[in-house]
């Protein structure tokens, strides 16, 4: 035992010493290495590939810190709020822009853009408003649009195309089975597939977002709320919520989402977001899947369900059009000791040539050089649906209190849809009350 004690203290000493020395080496190495933080998902891997060109050109090495989506906001906002130096560049979610701008986490890029001749008019307007501006609709830029994204749909073209299925659908609904254009059609299609046997396997209608912890169910329900006529606030009076957030249309939409959840989704879909959706779709469980366009390049190449087996469509409309905006801009963290290298990266990233490569290898460019290109619509099977979607995107609040607003909606919607608590009206009334309180604490609205 005594020798063990001695050994242990020696080991601990070594550990301590190496901790200190390791700390020293990292600071030295940082002179030429910058760290980029993003979510861990397919496009991030593409960015790693893309960035090799930057390192080759500038001799600045790149390190990456990718966090899964469900922890992304928590971890990264925590990092920013603690003024951490982990990230030099951050591809932060669109809703963070208000808080990060007002708290000074991000470097304001206006002067830099002017100096380097980077024009925001070269980027799709929805992405500039969504990812770069704060306050919204003012020319104050805190990020460069990096990853254009929205919610979209993919469906099993092979199943839709089976003659016996088409015939049965036509007999039942007296119309052709096709990707749904409206939510009413969607419900028919998804209920039609629910519980059906296809290729000897029981399949289900659709996969929708229901995740509780971060933003999942909110990002899902929005795609029904917007087309049904939900609005975040009175268009004429900012922060006036009553009758908009809890309008009759919104209540109908929330009930509709619950009906979808209950009637046309696979069992156990109680806490599912992008990853679970991909798993279910790839394993052939569902006919249609809600997910971010960002995953579609990967899905298209999937050995099991990719290529000709699947098709894509834009979010169904109802009374009006609308779909949840996703995507991120790339920002320079103001606590970074490597600001000039980080800016150098943004300058490199903004060039049309890099943007084209970014689009080609699995990213999603917001640059007009890509989106307005003559061959764009033919460039990928989901390009048309994506273009449609980008013309009708709506984003969640981007207020500094966005996280609070988000958590409130997560709770109220999940309580109603998944946990069967109360009515849709009660849920939305409670949400209005929550949001009003948050705005009141911020000194906004009345």
């Amino acid at each position: 035992m005594k020798t063990m004690l001695n050994k242990m203290s020696v080991m601990a000493l070594i550990a301590l010493a190496s901790a200190l020395s390791l700390g020293a080496t990292t600071t030295q190495a940082q002179e030429k290495t910058i760290t980029l933080c993003w979510a861990a998902w397919d496009p991030a891997n593409a960015l790693v590939e893309l960035s090799k060109d930057f390192t080759a050109q500038s001799k600045v090495k790149m390190k990456f810190e990718f966090v899964p989506w469900t922890n992304f906001a928590d971890r990264m906002l925590n990092e920013l709020n603690s003024k951490g130096k982990l990230c030099d560049l951050i591809i932060g979610d669109s809703q963070w822009i208000g808080g990060s701008a007002e708290s000074g986490h991000y470097v304001k890029l206006n002067d830099f853009f002017a100096k380097e001749g980077i024009k925001m008019s070269d980027f799709a307007p929805a992405t500039v408003t969504g990812y770069a501006e704060w306050p919204k609709n003012t020319p104050n830029y805190w990020a460069l649009p990096a990853m254009a994204d929205a919610v979209g749909w993919t469906y099993r073209k092979d199943w839709f195309g089976k003659p016996e299925i088409q015939a049965e659908f036509k007999k039942k609904y007296s119309r052709d089975l096709a990707p749904p254009k409206t939510w009413s059609e969607f419900k028919q299609v998804s209920e039609f597939f629910q519980g059906r046997m296809i290729d000897g396997k029981k399949v289900y209608g659709a996969y929708i977002f229901t995740e509780r912890g971060s933003e999942g169910i909110t990002m899902g329900v929005s795609n029904v709320l917007y087309p049904f006529g939900f609005q975040y606030q009175d268009p004429k009076k900012a922060y006036a919520l009553d009758g908009f957030v809890n309008s009759a249309e919104a209540i109908k939409a929330l009930e509709f989402y619950k009906a979808l959840y209950k009637g046309s989704t696979p069992p156990g879909l109680t806490n599912a977001y992008m990853g679970e959706g991909l798993d279910a779709f790839k394993s052939g469980q569902v006919a249609m899947m809600m997910n971010w366009f960002a995953f579609f390049p990967g899905l298209d190449k999937d050995p099991n369900v990719g290529g000709a087996k699947i098709g894509y469509f834009a979010n169904p409309s109802e009374k009006t059009k609308g779909v949840q905006l996703g995507g991120q801009g790339i920002s320079v963290v103001s606590y970074s000791p490597n600001r000039s290298e980080a800016l150098q990266y943004i300058k490199w990233f903004a060039s049309p040539a890099v943007q084209k490569k970014w689009q080609a290898i699995g990213g999603s460019s917001a640059h007009n050089a890509v989106l307005k290109d003559a061959g764009y619509l033919q460039s990928a099977p989901y390009a048309a649906a994506f273009q449609d979607s980008m013309n009708m995107v709506v984003d969640f609040w981007a207020e500094p209190s966005y996280a609070q607003l988000m958590l409130a909606e997560q709770k109220r919607v999940h309580d109603f849809v998944v946990a069967d608590k109360g009515t849709a009206k009660e849920a939305l009334d409670a949400l209005v009350a929550d949001w009003k309180k948050i705005f009141k604490d911020d000194g906004k609205g009345k």
Partner: protein, 318 residues
């Protein structure tokens, strides 16, 4: 409880039937309780497809893919690109190629595991070092307000970690200790020192004072007596205490998830977020879990004798 005197106490000895019944029930419970753990270790050797197969697979052909995925990051490439590469060297590269991927580099697992080691050992060293001194003082000297201080030391363990994390977070932000190994070492030491003081005081109380007094009569100073008499006598207790502190620091999650993000992140917040393409990479998670558990399993066996004392803050001695 020695068996030698059992004849003298025959009235309280259980009958062989009772023993047999008790043995079977306990063994059954132990087996059931160990199944989840065995399942995880098994999952580490499955392929991702086998890991989430329906119904769950008990018989499968083992694969090291989980361990490969744990230690590497991979990127998907076109078949043409892969065909242009030289033949794969190493098993992991081979496995990745079969799935049209190439190994892009090492994953973050090793740095996170290293952080766990450094922070766990560093904080153990500090808390046991401080703890043994304080315990000796509480055991041998008249410290004013001794009982209050001891209770105060213990009560620091009662606060919910999240509650403590709020001000620590603010304080570390000001001091630049956020996401640093030093910050985590200090924090874990502060949490562990209460356990260390209570446990070590118990162990030192058991060492007769006469030993030191005899040494001091021989001309040792108090400090020399402490170093040359008390410490060697307390070795077993110190090692046991150290292992308990180590296990706590090794397993800790709440502080780690809130106060570290990259540089100083330990393994517990990292393991649950190992993801593959699309969803969770369960074999890699299981592999990480298995590697993470190995030291604990060894320590559990080593600690058998002191376990009770450790987990009750020395309140129950055997």
């Amino acid at each position: 409880m020695s068996q030698g005197i059992s004849t003298a106490h025959s009235v309280v000895e259980p009958t062989s039937g009772t023993r047999w019944f008790a043995g079977v029930v306990v063994a059954l419970y132990a087996l059931v309780t160990i199944i989840p753990l065995a399942w995880i270790i098994m999952t580490g050797f499955k392929t991702p497809a086998d890991a989430i197969s329906y119904p769950p697979k008990v018989v499968f052909s083992p694969s090291v893919e989980g361990y490969c995925n744990l230690f590497t990051t991979r990127s998907r490439q076109t078949p043409e690109y892969i065909a242009s590469l030289p033949p794969a060297n190493g098993t992991c590269e081979q496995i990745a190629r079969e799935q049209k991927m190439v190994v892009a580099g090492p994953s973050n697992f090793v740095p996170r595991f290293t952080n766990s080691l450094i922070i766990a050992f560093g904080s153990t060293l500090l808390s046991v070092g401080f703890g043994v001194m304080a315990a000796y003082a509480f055991s041998r000297f008249k410290v004013p307000l001794k009982d209050d201080l001891l209770f105060f030391i213990l009560s620091t363990r009662m606060m919910p970690p999240i509650a403590v994390a709020i001000p620590i977070y603010l304080m570390y932000r000001e001091l630049g200790l956020s996401d640093t190994r030093l910050g985590m070492i200090l924090l874990y030491s502060a949490v562990n020192v209460s356990l260390a003081v209570w446990l070590l005081k118990g162990f030192i109380d058991e060492i007769p004072r006469e030993y030191e007094e005899a040494a001091m009569v021989d001309g040792y100073t108090r400090l020399q007596a402490f170093r040359k008499v008390v410490l060697p006598q307390a070795t077993t207790g110190i090692v046991a205490t150290a292992i308990f502190c180590l296990i706590f620091a090794w397993n800790e999650y709440a502080f780690a998830v809130l106060l570290t993000s990259g540089e100083a992140q330990t393994a517990p917040p990292f393991i649950p977020i190992i993801i593959g393409e699309g969803g969770m990479d369960w074999p890699a998670v299981a592999a990480g879990t298995t590697l993470f558990l190995v030291p604990i399993l060894i320590f559990t066996v080593l600690l058998r004798k002191h376990l009770l004392r450790g987990i009750t803050f020395g309140a129950v001695r055997k």
